[in-house]
Amino acid sequence: MTTTTDRPSLDDPRVQLDRDLGVFEPIPPYPTRTEREAEFYTLRDGEMLINMGPQHPSTHGVLRVVLKLDGEKVVDLDPVLGYLHRGVEKLCENADYHQAICYLDPLEYVSSLFCEWPGVMAFEKLMDVQVPRRAEYIRVLSGELNRIASHSLFLGWMALDLGGLTPILWSFIERDEIVDMLSALTGQRMLFNYFRIGGVNGDLNHEFLSRLGDWMSHATEQIESGQALLNENEIFVRRMRGLGTMDSATALRMVMTGPNLRATGVPFDVRRAHPYSVYPELDFDIPTRSEGDCLARYLLRMDEVKQSLRIIDQCLHEMPDGPVMAKLPRLLRPRPGRAYAGVEGPRGQYAAYVVSDGTDQPFRMRIHDPSFIHLQSVGVMVPDHLIADAMAVMASLDPIMGGVDK
């Protein structure tokens, strides 16, 4: 590569741009083309646009939300995504089926197993692979542990966004115990890379089971005490009750899933609506609340944690023996076709749609992520509330930007 003088770099201080950057414009004047953009970026008298920018202590990752404010009240908001876009779908097209599983983990990094699961299920459908029952039970067990870890973390940053410094550290203690357990099982603390096409990568081992046993013995009280600081706290409850109310019709129109939908009263859970894995054999309830406000979403997730504990208990008791991985050829070439698989993750429905063209690489790997969908609802719930409420509502929807931006 030669550096020629007639090709200056934009980093060169001698390069002059024709736009004067005297005072930096945080909201660049791109021409507005769509109706919604025009409606949003036209300011009436007294309104102001403020960037809750990608670097912000409170947005869950790199999310930029442009707020249109009238004083302290939010009139409208426009989330701008793409700051964490890594092109996962394109990367999966250039990798083979086994490698694609590694790309799925960092999507919703807090609950990685649920990101791998639909991808792996879709691959198994394409290749007509039957997963051994023991592997299915292990998948459910580790998945429910991951769900509890994710919901603990939700409690933490819900409180953090409202100003409480303490619950997040306690949540991390809870999560730490679970994640140490899972690291004994999978080898990793966070991006587990544990599910394989046809099973899981490695059976339960002694360390995992002993840690799990220890944890289960005090899990319930630990979780209860973690919530004790918040559930009875007047300030916390008053901030959240009645905020961001969503009724079930709107929630269905906004295609919400998971706890956000169940908090509005619709008892839709993929584990019961479209059962997969060994969930038909397990006995658990689907907690539902009908208020649809932030407090309902928060309490619902705590209820789900209790149900997850029930499921883990049953898995441990009913775990069958057998192999944990189906016998597969190393080079996987499914015949051309399409497959879709959806699972119920802590945030909602995670799904994967895979198109295969007969080669050993997926032709199209589509990842459907619930946080992406839920972030649209922020624009429905927040207007006519205050800035502080915008943060609280976004926190209660529990978005993870890795999944939103893929």
């Binding site: 090709r7 736009r19 953009e37 129109r253 879709y340 749609y353």
Partner: protein, 183 residues
Amino acid sequence: MDRAFKGRLEARFGERLLGPVRQRHDETEMRIAPGDVTQVLTALHDGPELRFEFLADLCGVDTGNDMQVVYHLWSETTSDWLRVIAEGLTRDDPRAPSATFLWKGAEWMEREAYDMFGIIFEGNRDLRRIYMPPDYQSFPLRKDFYLADDAARSPGGGVRPMERTHAPVDASVAALVRRSPGS
């Protein structure tokens, strides 16, 4: 696999289907033309025996020859996922009707399909890019997308060292630099 469901679909939509209804594992797949999307989705959503009120996914697919928009739906009336493939969108001007009249939540999924493939959804009030910068000039998930050349068509393209291995489309960097964003 719900075999009765296949019969019901063929009975309801017989003339609009561009091929037989296929079923595999727990999915049922039907193919329609993009022009029929509005009626088919409305019928699926509102039909008393169908009631597909839950849109599970909406995505675009580039098959190499042409493009498709794929909808995944769920209903209590059947145990299968329903996949509706609107196929035959041309590569030069891929257009499809928007599903936002039924599900407002489809707006962003269509934005993503537009951003990644260039599929224009008519009726979507907010069809702008969602992941790539607003003035990005190409569509990443298309099969004919190559990074180095296409990067040259974005502002700042061709002037970073890694992009100099391929000649940028506009050889004059001065023109590149003077071009104001958004044009």
